[in-house]
Amino acid sequence: MGMNMTEKILAKHAGLASVEPGQLITCKLDMVLANDITAPPAIKEFEKIGRPVFDNTKIALVPDHFTPNKDMKTAGLTKAVRDFANANNIVNYFEVGHDAGIEHVILPEKGLVGPGKLTIGADSHTCTYGAVNGFATGVGTTDLAVALATGEAWFKVPQSIKVNLTGKKPKNINGKDVILTLIGMIGVDGALYQSLEFAGPGVAELSMTDRFTIANMAIEAGGKNGIFPFDEKTKEYVEGRVKDYEPVAPDADAKYVRTVEINLSELKPVVAFPHLPGNTKRVEDIGEIKIHQVVIGSCTNGRLEDLAIAAEIMKGHKVHKDVRCIVIPGSQQVYMEALEAGYLKTFIESGAAVSTPTCGPCMGGHMGIMTAGERCVSTTNRNFRGRMGHVDSEVYLAGPHVAAASAILGRIATPEEVE
């Protein structure tokens, strides 16, 4: 019987010829990831097992959430990660500054994840790496602790939903519009325990940045993972970065529980209203919603192309007087490239605050926390109650195009509305 991409990667890593949905398997892992929030408790559990780390080259530790550390407690968390990395010779420890950044931006950037590879991370947005044709999923700290010691994890093979993309991607539409539209269609539990496999002629229309944004938010539909096929664009991205990769493609008779159709030509800029990523509405339909803050960044939309989109819209304009616009490049590399391309100058000239790479306000950590009654348009991935501060503040999720236009106009707006 034919297998889809997720099944092929899981079968190979379980040492099996084939697997089917529902089957319980144990897989060997190619990369194991944790951050400054999830690594410290995992390290404590790991120590209870009483074994050495399984492979010091297959572990990535990224202090990105509360860094540069915002207070003494979080400095203690990061120190615990740093001490563990030093004691165990962890090759891929990413210290603030240096060549670091947000975990899901830098792991693909450094080629630590790639086609056919299996990654788990103690962070729910680990599913981002499906963009480069890998299987990647988030786990908790206990799974991570066991993975650090054994290099293995257990999985239930998920059922898969095929997302068939057709049509041409219009101007002013990007990956965020695709994924928010999809979550709006199927709901925040529409892919619960399932895999989202992207397919169809529309895939070729999407840049790697679009694909990272889309795979990143598979979890926002409840998905275990999201995965893209390997094509010319993937090849161009991974060549020279990733060692020994083996792309996977679905068999012609691969099984899917259902197919969801998205015609890219019909998409419009969208925004997800509080307090769920599935509350998707077209920006043109929402009327006037005044805002106080805009955040452009995160593991969803903190890549160079995202900043390019925002800079193009903001060039020659000023951020609205009632708005704080915070731009956060996703990694040191993105930061440098955005500097060289002149985007950071554009942001600063327009009145935006540009930050060093960090998760920052995305999960209510620091660098732009809101008080009661405030509204933010954010390129991040979650708008749960209290996610960016006070329980009575509101987060509206959108792509960098809508975020930039909204920063200038002081209300949620489409890029076309900026003269």
Partner: protein, 162 residues
């Protein structure tokens, strides 16, 4: 072993940010996490919850981040079992891995209300609503996942296999 307790009833899509908001993730001490559990939607929970009380939610309970701080906060509040229509998958794994039984009962959850008293046998997956007389059966855990639960969590399970 049967458990008996009073119900704390919540709705659909209870996310990990409300179970334990990010501002409290600068600690992973279970007692401290428990002291902030659910505050953003229910300020009475952390204060009034009694050892043995049972948490009941709707669809997609525990969606959002992978923070194991969330099931840990609930467990450390004295809650020995969570019942929901369905669970988000990372939360579900985490519950099993830390030895906190999670029972999925689909739409039957509508027949459990705030302050009902339940008798629950997590191993058998049986639930009795002592207030209304209704009984429910949860989906059983598959294969070796039951062994992990029986061992009291993944760390014990791995150690026992050494």
């Amino acid at each position: 072993m049967a458990l008996e307790g009073k119900v704390w009833r919540y709705g659909d899509n209870i996310d990990t940010d409300v179970i334990i908001p990010a501002r409290y993730l600068n600690s992973f001490d279970p007692k401290e996490l428990a002291s902030h559990c659910m505050v953003d939607i229910d300020t009475t929970f952390a204060e009034k919850v009694q050892e043995g009380d049972i948490m009941v939610g709707g669809k997609n309970f525990g969606c959002g981040s992978s923070r194991e701080h969330a099931p840990i906060a609930i467990k450390a509040s004295g809650v020995p079992v969570i019942i929901a229509a369905s669970f988000a998958r990372i939360f579900y794994r985490n519950g099993i891995n830390i030895g906190l039984p999670l029972l999925e009962i689909g739409d039957d959850v509508e027949k459990i209300h705030a302050d009902d008293r339940l008798r629950v046998d997590p191993e058998k997956g049986t639930i009795e609503n002592l207030t209304t007389g209704d009984t429910f059966k949860a989906h059983p855990l598959p294969g070796f996942v039951q062994d992990i639960a029986n061992a009291g969590g993944l760390i014990n399970y791995i150690k026992s296999k050494k």
